[in-house]
């Protein structure tokens, strides 16, 4: 009987992957390469299961970039095991896109470009926090103009992480972080615990805790995709086609001859609480380059229609176009 109960509890988290189209989830391990992220100090010789690190004074330390990559890899495996297509913005101790670190601007832009161009439908950035030795707890961010969908994702992921890690609940917050501002899909940034707090650094040094953190974030994503009970959450109910999932549709709010004109529209779109980016595309047929204000990319036409109609309801011009370059190849 106990086995049965366990099994059904587990099954509740497993989506019937044969019947439901799951969204492409971009997983963003914060920092990397020359950018270590926050640094936590551990008791000498603490086993972390990560690359051993020490500072200039010979103390055993733990780098945020190592924790975020490890948690992200665990999250990636967890989501893939449940049928989710995923995209990691880096897979090694490198900057975004697995390239050597150059500047913070290039690093962050590579991450958002990867997710936007691959048509990711959710974006989860994994970070650990830092302030002082007494700071404690979990907080989750969404963009200040976030869509209801992004807010729902933030709330669900946050609830799960707070529940599993059992650290103080610092709340769901809004901020203008680069990866939240420049992604076109619902995006959240999770700060699991404080590396500046010696107890929480030691906590994050445990592989089992990092696994719990990863599964908590994953469970939040699953709850979101299932509808999460939150109003305004999109449901991914379209049947899976036997073909591989490709991004086919792109919702645009205008196409302009100059970037300046597109930027103005971009600002107007963002003022309505919609995330958007500018994409330039050359059309061979018309021999023209246009700057498109892209608000979303979709696998399923139904989801693209939903966004188009939502934009039109806000008084913005919106069209569905092909997500593939129209030129040959």
């Amino acid at each position: 009987v106990r086995w049965l109960t366990c099994f059904s509890a587990l099954a509740g988290l497993m989506l019937p992957t044969t019947a439901v189209a799951l969204p492409l989830v971009a997983i963003d391990p914060g920092h990397g390469g020359r950018d270590t992220g926050a640094v936590g100090v551990l008791p000498a010789g603490t086993e972390t299961g990560l690359v051993p690190r020490s500072d200039s004074r010979g103390r055993t330390v733990i780098y945020e970039k190592d924790v975020t990559l490890d948690v992200s890899q665990r999250l990636d495996a967890w989501l893939r095991a449940r049928g989710f297509p995923t995209l990691m913005t880096r897979t090694q101790d490198l900057a975004g896109g697995d390239v050597p670190y150059t500047t913070v601007g290039a690093d962050l832009r590579a991450r958002t470009n990867l997710a936007n161009e691959a048509g990711a439908e959710l974006f989860v950035s994994i970070h650990e926090n830092s302030l002082n030795a007494r700071s404690s707890g979990t907080e989750t961010y969404h963009f200040y103009y976030a869509s209801p969908a992004a807010r729902a994702l933030a709330v669900l992921v946050h609830q799960e992480v707070v529940f599993r890690l059992g650290l103080p609940d610092r709340g769901v917050k809004k901020a203008g972080f680069f990866v939240l501002k420049n992604t076109v899909m619902p995006a959240v940034l999770v700060e699991g615990a404080f590396l500046s707090n010696p107890e929480e650094a030691l906590f994050l040094a445990r592989p089992d805790v990092r696994q719990q953190l990863a599964e908590a974030v994953g469970t939040g994503v699953v709850r979101y995709v299932e509808g999460g009970g939150a109003p305004g959450t999109p449901a991914y109910g379209a049947p899976v086609s036997p073909k591989p999932l490709v991004i086919k549709y792109r919702v645009t709010a205008g196409a302009f001859r100059t970037r300046a004109l597109a930027l103005r529209r971009l600002a107007a779109v963002r003022r309505t609480g919609t995330t958007a980016v500018i994409r330039r595309r050359y059309t061979a047929r018309t021999k023209k380059t246009l700057h498109y204000v892209v608000t979303g990319q979709f696998i399923f036409l139904e989801n693209a229609r939903q966004m188009r109609d939502a934009l039109r309801a806000k008084g913005l011009p919106a069209q569905i176009g092909s997500a593939k370059p129209s030129a040959a190849r």
Partner: protein, 199 residues
């Protein structure tokens, strides 16, 4: 549709004015008047398009934001000191860089950070810090970054006419490990509202 378009007109004009101010300010800086912080090389020399940049009366009140003892909440401090020809923006930022004088307040501005210059282009304050700002900037953590940046942005945007802040280090965009986009101006919106909520 008509309503949608009409939103743009004032913005377009504002952009034009800001652009002109920027050109004028650049000319002023290249003319070599950005050397001395205490002289506050602001757009006062760059023409009258930004009314707020004129020097203040010799003594007046300045609002500065420091952190409370937890380092997690902003606390407003109103000081009154002599301006001596400085702009309100320069006085406020200099007071911020000097650190809190009151017990129970803290600052997270990297140690040794000096204000080199400040200016105003339209609604954007341009704040130029010394290299200590970059070398002492926290390596990671949203809370740590917010503790450094929010007091600067809240203090500068307290100055009438300023709504965003572009941070520079030694006159160039800083290359520091930030999760914010420092190539663009920051506004109060970029920070969680809980920062100034009642405790």
């Amino acid at each position: 549709m008509q309503a949608f378009r009409s939103q743009f007109l004032p913005k377009r004009l504002r952009g034009l004015i800001a652009g002109m101010a920027l050109v004028a300010a650049t000319a002023a800086i290249t003319a070599g008047c950005a050397d001395d912080a205490s002289v506050a090389p602001t757009t006062t020399t760059a023409g009258g398009s930004t009314a707020q940049t004129t020097a203040r009366p010799a003594s007046s009140r300045t609002t500065v934001y420091f952190l409370d003892s937890s380092g997690e909440r902003l606390t407003e401090v109103v000081t009154s000191d002599s301006a001596d020809g400085e702009t309100a923006l320069a006085v406020a930022l200099r007071t911020l860089a000097a650190g809190p004088q009151q017990a129970g307040l803290t600052t997270a501005l990297p140690a040794g950070t000096r204000l080199i210059s400040s200016s105003q282009d339209g609604g954007t304050a341009r704040v130029n810090f010394s290299s200590e700002f970059a070398s002492g900037y926290p390596s990671g953590g949203s809370a740590a970054e917010i503790a450094v940046l929010a007091p600067i942005v809240f203090t500068a945007t307290e100055v009438p006419g300023v709504d965003s802040v572009l941070i520079e280090v030694e006159g160039a965009p800083p290359d520091i490990p930030t999760q914010f986009d420092l190539s663009a101006p920051l506004a109060r919106d970029d920070f969680p509202p809980e920062l100034v909520a009642a405790p």
